[in-house]
């Protein structure tokens, strides 16, 4: 009995002394005092040095996209550090291209703020904020895809149609790490107090959380909006193409066009396997009435049923069939990298200018 007690006391004391020592030294040795953080040459922040650039920016309520939470494994949190970043670390090098290294791009989760530092970030990131929301509604659209509506209460979000937000998946039973994953917003930009997401089940950390743990009424944390995939003003006809949850940003774009009475010709190619994989058909039907010249072209690759009268095969083949010459077209694609690459090939063959092909690979 005595041995047990002395063991506990001795181990606790030694651990406490070491912990105290480390805490004191991180307050003294690890304390770099106040430093000035200059962003885009015009905004200055006085911050406490010593933490990573990502955390420092977060404490100033500037959110840089990051999917791994600062572990240096996703490579999303890239920021241009003009001055005061110190040398590039070995942990960053594998995630930076040669051009980025020359352009002094750093991973903000690895780069520490220890002296006055100058960085440049895209202006849009100042718009990014963190939101607490309540799950207002969930709906199982297909066996694997769920629609979720997050309500922000009194807070407002302003985003461009096609942009995405990051959802925080907290630790849950069977998963002890907290991760952020990106999902495109499927709802209208005029719906400022809520966002809708389409989330497909893949067995990953975040999708397992959403499909098996998240219920209506639960609290969630998101930040955003992010992304350079969004609707651009133009006059020519427009091609939309997606598969699975790639429907989300396209729904937001269609809603935006309907709300603003934009009279562009629209062709929406949607790739799926069978009729069971089609969803939100009522909403799409609504757009056929609201929009002036809208055509929905679902393209099924594995449908054998006699009932199906639509397109069969792959989306690039359907594009080939529906479009003759595309010089004045613009295109918005959202789906898997393989799918987007094949569609881009098909679009280029129709002379659609590559600078007018916008895509979001996931």
């Amino acid at each position: 009995m005595n041995t047990i007690i002395t063991t506990i006391i001795v181990v606790s004391c030694i651990t406490a002394v070491l912990a105290a020592l480390l805490t004191i030294s991180s307050r003294t040795i690890g304390n770099y005092g106040e430093v000035v953080l200059t962003i885009n040459d015009d905004k200055e922040y006085v911050v406490n040095g010593g933490s990573s650039l990502l955390d420092t920016l977060r404490s100033e309520r500037i959110f840089i996209p990051s999917a791994c939470g600062g572990k240096g494994s996703c490579g999303y949190c890239k920021v241009k550090v003009i001055e005061g970043g110190g040398p590039v670390l070995a942990t960053e090098k594998p995630l930076l291209t040669k051009e980025e290294l020359e352009d002094s791009v750093r991973l903000s989760c690895q780069c520490k703020v220890k002296q006055n530092i100058k960085i440049s970030i895209p202006e849009e990131l100042f718009n990014v904020r963190e939101y607490s929301a309540v799950v207002e509604r969930t709906e199982q659209l297909t066996p694997t895809i769920k629609l979720l509506r997050f309500n922000f209460g009194n807070e407002e979000i302003s985003f461009k149609p096609g942009q995405y937000i990051q959802l925080k998946a907290p630790a849950y039973e069977g998963n002890d790490e907290e991760v952020y994953r990106a999902y495109s917003i499927a709802s209208s930009v005029t719906d400022k107090h809520a966002v809708e997401l389409l989330i497909g089940y893949t067995g990953g950390i975040a999708t397992t959380y959403v499909h098996h743990h998240l219920k209506e009424g639960d609290d969630v944390h998101v930040n955003g909006p992010y992304g350079d995939f969004y609707y651009h003003e133009d006059d020519g006809p427009i091609i939309l193409a997606g598969a699975g949850t790639g429907m989300a940003p396209i729904m937001s774009i269609l809603q935006f066009m309907a709300d603003n009475n934009i009279n562009r010709k629209v062709l929406f190619f949607f790739g799926a396997r069978t009729m069971k994989d089609l969803f939100l058909l009522d909403k799409i039907k609504g757009f056929e009435e609201k929009l002036n010249d809208f055509k929905f072209v679902p393209t099924l690759s594995r449908e054998e049923s006699e009932e199906w009268h639509g397109e069969k095969g792959r989306v690039p083949a359907a594009i080939d069939k529906y479009i003759e010459k595309g010089e004045n077209y613009s295109a918005y694609l959202c789906g898997s990298p393989a799918m987007i690459d094949s569609i881009v090939q098909a679009l280029l063959l129709k002379d659609i200018p590559s600078e007018k092909i916008y895509y979001d690979k996931f």
Binding site: T7, V10, V11, T15, A19, S25, S26, A90
Partner: protein, 196 residues
Amino acid sequence: MIEVNPILIFFAAIFTSNMIFSNFLGMCSFIAVSKEIPTAIGLGISVTMVMTATTILNYMVYWTILVPFNLEYLMYIIFILVIAAFVQLLEMVLERYLPTLYYSLGIFLPLITVNCAILGVSLFMVTRSYDFMQTVGYSIGSGLGWALAITAMAGIRSKLNEKSIPEGLRGTPITLVITGIMALAFIGFSGMVQIQ
């Protein structure tokens, strides 16, 4: 307690009882970081530093705390705690005062925490019942021996880059083969001094 001069122990730890070639401890970083000479030297120096400091600290903790309370069996946990805390502290100090060295060591520094050669030296110091001066000699010697081994290996491996090696042997396998041959060569030193 064995009666061996601390200076003899120091040399023995480098040559006859080299951590890598006679105990095969600290192999993972030995194989992973022995590709280039400069990084190998950097890691070798930091291992020596950490090894010396933590062994001396562990010596004091062992004889002043664990032995009086009859808690010798706790040494594994306590030694690891001391090593982990020391490496953290060293990381902070280097980052603040010697940033150049800090950046050149990069991720190898935290890796030292889990280098079993470091824990090994602390444990051998106990099982061989060294006194304080012997412990000092032994820990510095072991660190330098480890540094010598990894630097020599990095030298050999940088020469190997230009040679055509059968595909199945490239990388770790050939390194292990060479380690074996180097260990055989180090047997040549044995018999000079015996410390284990």
